[in-house]
Amino acid sequence: MTTEAGTAREIAFGLPPDADECVDLDGVFRPPYAHLLATLERVAATLPQIHRDAQQWFADRGVTFGVPTEGVAPIFPFDPVPRVLSAVEWRSLNRALSQRAMALDLFVSDCYGSQRAIRHGVVPGRLLYSSTGYLRDIVGVRPPRATWCHVSGIDVVRVKGTFHVLEDNVRIPSGMAYALESRRAMESLAPDWFELAPVRPIHGYTGRLRRILQRIAPRQWDADIVVLTPGSYNAAYYEHRLLADEMNATLVEGHELIVVEDEVYRRDAEGVAQHVDVIYSRVNSEWLDPLVFRRDSMLGAPGLIEAWRRGNVAIANAPGTGVADDKVIYPYVPAMIRYYLGEEPLMDNVPTFDLTDERQQAHVVANIGSMVLKPVDTSGGYGIHFGRLMASAERADFLDRVMANPRQWLAQEEVALSRAVCLRASGGFEPRAVDLRPFVLLDERPWIVPGGLTRVAGDPDELVVNSSHGGGSKDTWVLTR
């Protein structure tokens, strides 16, 4: 079997043996890839053309990610070889992600309620009270349907064959529009691929999201829904536009909203004030209301939080979800799952250490060579340090810096991310590191779009998989059987 697989691989792509998204630990092809390989073998010669067409397709539709330079935002990089997950793999991922999203939501609810988990020592109070995501002004608020994290993006990686959670994004997880567009590109450019493999559709996402937004509206009928964007200079502006379009919502910036007597209004095209019922916010909650949070914010509208507090407008995700998004909280999520749900976590964390805890800190210092240190207050994969790559003098200096401010850092064991087959620019194939960001929508019960956004590293040696790091995406296939 091994030799057979090896041969097939050699024949098809000349792949190195560590493209482990397609092969399991024994070097055998994972079953879902059987379909794909058969297809790829047939179409290998046409792939570069499909790739070029896809780039053109993305450019034509203006699918961009990143800050515009000279008025033009960069096209989101796309790899035409799909990432495939079997029905079995997906079923267990689905269960684990639902569990995690529910626990995170309960945690946020608890932080702004009775803080049981703090009193019972499940999550250290020192982390909550020092979190920049903990918004004191909204403690005691109960949002509609008591849901806070309507959308969460939970990043998972495959380590030695099993999925692990790498990071939780419950503030303003972005990327779903890119997953939707990747699928559309593949469907229009290589429709015949889908005839071979029974792939689950993902286009229901925006409809589901709209339904959730409608359900939390204070006025159930004829609810006016807006997508609040920081503006066209935001890296994910394309996504904000697409989601607004497809949900039949209005795309607005903060200055277009006005709060009068705790009711929120926007001006429509004719200049008439329209009452706003639901805000799907893509602005971080700290920037939503200059009267309450950041005084210098120009992205929100003064009075918005009071309007929300009084239940006159719904905001998704609810303000304050940053407490569960704070990287130092992540090591405590498995404990949260046990505490709130009374269940064992179905998916492990990548081993992670809270540096404000003395014992964990000592462990990190002793094993710095195998650690990755991430600053907690940044996203986009910036400021990450690999212990392995530092000279010993550099390590000592760096550790001094970290230990002077342990709350600002998080240590994670360095893990080898699984690698998937990608098209090489110069022709042929190469393996590159991938992760997966599934999107969990929380209504009465969680619903997860089959697949999500697969992000690939920019080149074979890149260790960080992030769109802000030159990475791209792949279409993600979840097979129906």
């Binding site: 020192r126 020092s130 004191r136 002004d137 009267l291 003064p302 009075g303 009071e306």
Partner: protein, 301 residues
């Protein structure tokens, strides 16, 4: 009414001047005295010019907050608070130290941690050490409160509302806000939960009037969860003449006014006058009668 109850009439006027016309302004005001412990507000009014309807809520720290949205164009905004507040002298209790584990799961842990204006830096830690050695007992807390006004000079205007603890230590002079921040940093560094209190300092003698600014001091929490007021500007326990407005982690949480305005204008530091008079028993009776009549009228409507 007990013999040690003091009653004050407070008039607190804030004038905000803008360089041009302001079309719309949003204001959050924390000027309503707290009704906790020994303190009680008998009468309170908040008026603004131009006129706006104040709406109130209670914030995270239990303070009253009033929101005033002024929608008439204006060059100046005047806020006038008139209040009658009675207070008795809090008991001078001794506080017992916290057990580290008990504090770890207690919400008051928040008041041991650094806050935006009270970083727990090396300079305040070593100052504590120089004064008290390794001792973190209540006696050292008290000794620190008494020592701060002896070591640092009270000079009004030496610092601004934005000054830091480092500014105070570098200059050796400051006002109550700076002394309070310094004391907070020192006692938090020693493991005591402590919070910032903004308020007024009234005269002790009857029918005497003081004019001046607001005052600030500290409340330290003992392991029984009760707070004790200590004034690091006067170097003593707080008395019946310390009238509390709001509490928080530091000045940022209790600022009496903050606002936001639209229009082609710039703001200036507000012009604040505070007048506090100790009322005679006769005057107090009048106020209470007034309140009773007002209440009756409301019932009849």
């Amino acid at each position: 009414m007990g013999t040690d109850t003091l009653t004050y009439s407070v008039s607190h006027r804030t004038i905000l001047r803008y360089s041009g016309k302001v079309t719309l302004s949003y204001n959050e005001v924390r000027m309503r005295p707290r009704d906790r412990g020994s303190q009680r507000t008998l009468a309170f009014s908040l008026l603004s010019k131009p006129w706006a309807v104040p709406r109130s809520r209670v914030d995270y720290f239990g303070n009253f907050v009033h929101r005033l949205d002024v929608t008439t164009p204006h060059n100046t905004l005047e806020l006038t608070v008139e209040a009658v507040v009675e207070n008795t002298e809090p008991r001078r209790r001794r506080l017992s130290e916290w057990d580290e584990h008990a504090l770890a799961g207690d919400p008051r842990l928040e008041f041991v941690l650094p806050s935006p204006r009270v970083p727990l830096a090396e300079n305040t830690r070593s100052l504590w050490h120089a004064w008290n050695g390794a001792d973190t007992s209540f006696d050292s807390v008290l000794a620190t409160a008494q020592r701060i006004p002896r070591e640092l000079r009270y000079v009004s205007g030496a610092t601004t509302v934005e000054s830091s603890i480092d500014d105070l230590l570098a200059g050796g002079a400051g006002v109550c806000q700076d002394f309070t921040h310094l004391f907070l940093a020192m006692v938090r560094g020693a493991g005591w939960p402590a919070r910032y209190v903004s308020g007024y300092l009234g005269p002790v003698d009857e029918e005497k009037v003081v004019e001046g600014q607001s005052h600030a001091w500290v409340e330290v929490c003992g392991s029984d969860g009760r707070w004790l007021g200590l004034d690091p500007t006067l170097g003593q326990h707080v008395g019946a003449h310390h009238l509390r407005l709001a509490v928080g982690r530091d000045y940022g949480d209790v600022a009496p006014h903050h606002g936001l305005f639209f229009g082609e204008a710039t703001g200036a530091p507000p012009d604040v006058t505070v007048r506090i008079a100790r009322m005679s028993n006769q005057q107090v009776d009048q106020v209470e009668r007034h309140a009773a009549v007002h209440w009756q009228q409301q019932q009849q409507q």
